[in-house]
Each structure stands twice: as structure tokens, then as C-alpha cells.
């Protein structure tokens, strides 16, 4: 009923401003675009194949064809969170002082900078790449190897870009919503993106080449606890206030991803006037 027309414009298929900019660069990076097109095609085909023909009469209906499996994995993750991750994050918050945790957070994030820079470049976003490079230099040099986030304090906020977003900018549809074991909410496109970011991560490549695999595992563990510690209260609130925690998380994930991809708030929903409500 409301906003029936909106259903037709699936945000993941709409050409974003950035992808248009990417096209302008076609002459510079033809081979890159060719491989992108192949990847985009391959993923969109899968996405279409798994997308139900009718996503519902409601413009805000979510597509989740694998909901049954997803709910099982979600339940498993919830148990892992309850018995391991959340308690670990609580201990971490209790015994490690605030400034130290901030430093750890900044350090971990600074190590991700090469990925942010690369993805900005792959999206044809040279401003974004300059921004991420500025942050990386500032924090590495002035922030003592990244333990102080000097850049944010100076008005250059962190804007993570991952390969899932890059694929989206290239026009790849999200594919079905997925809940990954241990990793949590995702979709087919973002799962591929996560894999590419992981394999292409210079820190990981360095660690594996120099027999420092343990360092890599430590980083993963600390990142997980750090990330969880940032949202202790918000997740508790959500869990307590939700009628259907699974559906809430799914909605949050999809809205956040849309905004992250567009680098601006997602298109605002329509709020029709109900002053003349239909009978009944």
C-alpha cells in the first residue's frame, strides 16, 4: 500500500553516485572494471536466483529466504556470546582501564587502514582514499604507531570501507541475508567481501609469511573482544526490549550497511498522512 513504488527501486541495484564516478574512470582502469563486471554479474545472478519473486506488499519487507537456517545459526551465536564473548568483554572492561582500551581500539583500527585505503581506491573514491591516508599517517606518526587516535580529535573521523561496500558500489546486489557462524549478520556479497579483505590484509600476509601466525590469532581475538566491549550496553538494551531479537538485528544490519555503502544516511522512509484514514 504505502510506497508501493519504492519496492521497485531496490537500493542494492540502484546505480550510486560513486559507481557513476567509477565509470568515468573506465579508461584508466579498464581491466579492473572488467574483472569487477564479471564478479558483479556472477553475484547478481546468484542474488536473483535466491531472491523470492515477491518481496511482499510492504515496502519495508526484508528479503530473508534462508531465515530458517539463519535463525539456527543466530541461536548458536547467541549461546557463544552469552557463555564466552560477552563475559570476556565484561572482564576486559572491568580490568583494563579506559585509556588503555581506547589505545588498543585505535591501534587495531589503525592496522586496518591499508584495507580502508585500498577499498576507497577500488571504489574510485580518491577523496576518501586521501582522507584514509591522512588518518593513517597522522595516527601512525603522531599517534605513536596508532595507539592514539589523533586524527579523530583533529576532526578527521574514521570511515571504514570494506570490500563488501566496494562490491556494492560496483553494482553488486546484496544477495540473501546470512548469519555467519561466529561472525554474525552478513549477506552473500558482504561474506565475499569479508573473505577478500581477510586474504588481502597486508598485516595478515606479513604475519603468515614471517611465521607470526600466533600474532594474527591474537589480533583476531582482541578485535572481537574490543568490538564486543564497545556495544555491551546497547546490545543488552536491544535484547531486553526486542520482541524478536533476530529481526531487530537483521533490520539494524541492513540499514547500517545501506548507509555505509552510500556514505550518507539511507533514503528516508515515507511517512504518509493518516488524517483521513481508510474506513475500518
Amino acid at each position: 500500500m504505502q510506497g508501493q513504488g519504492r519496492t521497485a527501486i531496490r537500493p542494492e541495484f540502484a546505480l550510486t553516485e560513486k559507481s557513476r564516478r567509477t565509470m568515468k574512470l573506465a579508461s584508466l582502469s579498464r581491466s579492473l572494471l572488467r574483472s569487477a563486471a564479471v564478479a558483479a554479474f556472477a553475484l547478481s545472478v546468484t542474488a536473483c536466483a535466491t531472491r523470492p519473486a515477491d518481496s511482499g506488499a510492504d515496502a519495508y519487507a526484508v528479503s530473508d529466504p534462508l531465515e530458517g537456517v539463519n535463525r539456527v545459526v543466530f541461536g548458536f551465536n547467541d549461546v557463544v556470546d552469552t557463555v564466552a564473548l560477552r563475559p570476556a568483554a565484561e572482564v576486559y572492561v572491568t580490568i583494563v582501564p579506559d585509556p588503555v582500551r581506547d589505545s588498543i581500539h585505535s591501534f587495531i583500527d589503525n592496522l586496518m587502514s591499508p584495507i580502508y585505503i585500498a577499498n576507497n581506491l577500488l571504489q574510485g573514491d580518491f577523496e576518501g582514499a586521501g582522507h584514509a591516508t591522512g588518518r593513517f599517517l597522522t595516527n601512525t606518526v603522531l599517534g605513536a604507531g596508532g595507539i592514539a587516535d589523533v586524527a579523530t580529535a583533529a576532526g578527521i573521523p574514521n570511515k571504514p570501507e570494506d570490500f563488501g561496500q566496494t562490491l556494492a558500489v560496483w553494482g553488486v546486489g546484496s544477495g540473501p541475508y546470512l548469519v555467519l557462524p561466529l561472525l554474525g549478520p552478513s549477506n552473500l556479497r558482504d561474506t565475499v567481501g569479508y573473505g577478500v579483505d581477510t586474504v588481502g590484509d597486508p598485516i595478515r600476509i606479513w604475519a603468515y609469511a614471517n611465521d607470526h601466525k600466533t600474532l594474527s590469532y591474537v589480533r583476531t581475538g582482541v578485535s572481537a573482544v574490543d568490538a564486543r566491549s564497545q556495544v555491551l550496553q546497547s546490545v543488552d538494551d536491544l535484547r531486553r526490549n526486542s520482541l524478536d531479537f533476530y529481526a531487530t538485528v537483521r533490520s539494524l544490519y541492513q540499514q547500517r550497511r545501506q548507509a555505509d555503502i552510500a556514505n550518507k544516511p539511507a533514503g528516508a522512509p515515507e511517512f504518509p498522512d493518516f488524517t483521513a484514514p481508510p474506513a475500518k
Binding site: 599517517l137 570511515k159 520482541l243 531487530t248
Partner: protein
């Protein structure tokens, strides 16, 4: 959206650093802020409706004034929260919007009970956060027209602990009154989130609004 540059510079001022480091710092910051400038362009250059911003400012000031007093009895604080909620938000409108197409499928009795439960859900969800007020402040970051009738008022909520949160308020003018009809926290619309959650609950109960009402009863009964 924008961060106060003046304050940031003061924190990392020359007194903390040797002169040479300060010069290096200034150079690097100049480079980075040049690189970052296009991203910080004033998205809210033209103001849409000054009245909407003033309305949010006043509502926020009232909330802070109300919940700063910690000696207040709990029931009184709850009542005041409800008063502020109705002063600021068009609760019945939001309730109806959130139910989406199921509104028309519900009977009148179901609609009435749903609206009552929806209000209680809002109170149980948010009242605690306001009553436990711990020194947050806010500032209006900008306003922009939204849709044909509304104004989006963007605020930044500064917390004593943790990074600031960006919250945008969608404000609709009704006659001389302003009312909030949606709240967008870090780019996530609370209205859309709740709508998708409710739709999921209805779907799991065979497409029946009665199932949602039952779930709401349990939720507000247990939490409140």
C-alpha cells in the same frame, strides 16, 4: 557531523609537544584536513525550518532539566517522562506507521489495544535511559527539509564516556505544533527497525495481528 576543530587543537596544543613535533604535527594535520575537507562539506548549509530546531532544542533542555534531579521519586520521574514523550512525539501516528499494512487488517478493538501496548513498550524501552540520565549534553548540528512536509533536525549527543552519538529527529509541523515522527540513530531509523521487527512477529504468528498483540502484552507485562 562536524567536530569542533578549535577544541581539538587546544587538547593537542603546543604546550604538550616540543616545537619541532608541533611543526610536524601542524604540517600533517594540514595535509590530512585538506584531504578530509571534501567529506566534511556542510550538508546542512541551508536551514529548513528554524521552528523545528527550536522545538528540538527546547524539548532536549526540558528533558535534561527534568532528569538531572536524582532525588525525584521514581513514579514521578516516570510520569514526567510520559508527559515529555507526548509533548515531543506523535505516539499514535508512530504506532500506526510502525504496524504498516497490518493496521488495516486489524479490527478496531485490536487497533485500540495495540496502540495502548505500543505506548507502554515505548515507555518501558526508553524511560529507564532517561531516568538514569548521567550528564549527556547535546547540540544541534543542522536542519534540512525532508519530504514535502517535514524537517530533519540533526543533533549530536555528547556522552561523558564514549564517542558522541549522531541522532536525527524527523519533525512534522501540525498547525502551530511540532511533533517528532521518527528518530534516526547513527543512520538507523527506529521506526523502520520497529516496523520490520513487528512484521516479523506478525509473520511468525500466521500473519495475525493478534499474535503481535500477545507478544506485546508479555513484553510490557514482564518488563514493566
Amino acid at each position: 557531523m562536524t567536530v569542533d576543530n578549535g577544541r581539538a587543537t587546544a587538547t593537542f596544543g603546543p604546550t604538550m609537544l616540543t616545537r619541532r613535533l608541533f611543526v610536524a604535527c601542524a604540517a600533517l594535520l594540514a595535509v590530512s584536513s585538506w584531504a578530509g575537507r571534501p567529506l566534511l562539506s556542510p550538508a546542512f548549509a541551508q536551514s529548513a525550518d528554524a521552528g523545528a530546531a527550536a522545538f528540538i532544542q527546547k524539548l532536549g533542555n526540558d528533558a535534561i532539566a527534568t532528569f538531572s534531579d536524582k532525588a525525584k521519586p521514581r513514579q514521578q520521574a516516570l510520569d514526567q517522562f510520559r508527559t515529555l514523550l507526548y509533548k515531543g512525539f506523535d505516539v499514535p501516528y508512530i504506532g500506526r506507521w510502525v504496524l504498516g499494512r497490518y493496521w488495516n487488517e486489524a479490527t478496531e478493538a485490536e487497533q485500540a489495544e495495540y496502540q495502548k501496548l505500543f505506548e507502554q513498550l515505548i515507555v518501558t524501552t526508553y524511560a529507564e535511559r532517561f531516568i538514569e540520565y548521567s550528564g549527556e549534553t547535546f547540540r544541534i548540528a543542522g536542519t534540512a527539509p525532508e519530504g514535502e512536509t517535514d524537517t530533519m533536525v540533526t543533533t549530536q549527543i555528547v556522552r561523558p564516556n564514549g564517542p558522541p552519538i549522531n541522532v536525527a529527529w524527523r519533525v512534522r509541523k501540525r498547525g502551530a505544533d511540532y511533533k517528532i515522527i521518527d528518530m534516526v540513530v547513527e543512520n538507523v531509523s527506529m521506526g523502520v527497525t520497529q516496523r520490520q521487527e513487528f512484521a516479523s512477529v506478525v509473520a511468525q504468528n500466521g500473519g495475525k495481528v493478534a499474535g503481535l498483540i500477545q507478544a506485546l502484552r508479555q513484553k510490557v507485562g514482564r518488563a514493566g
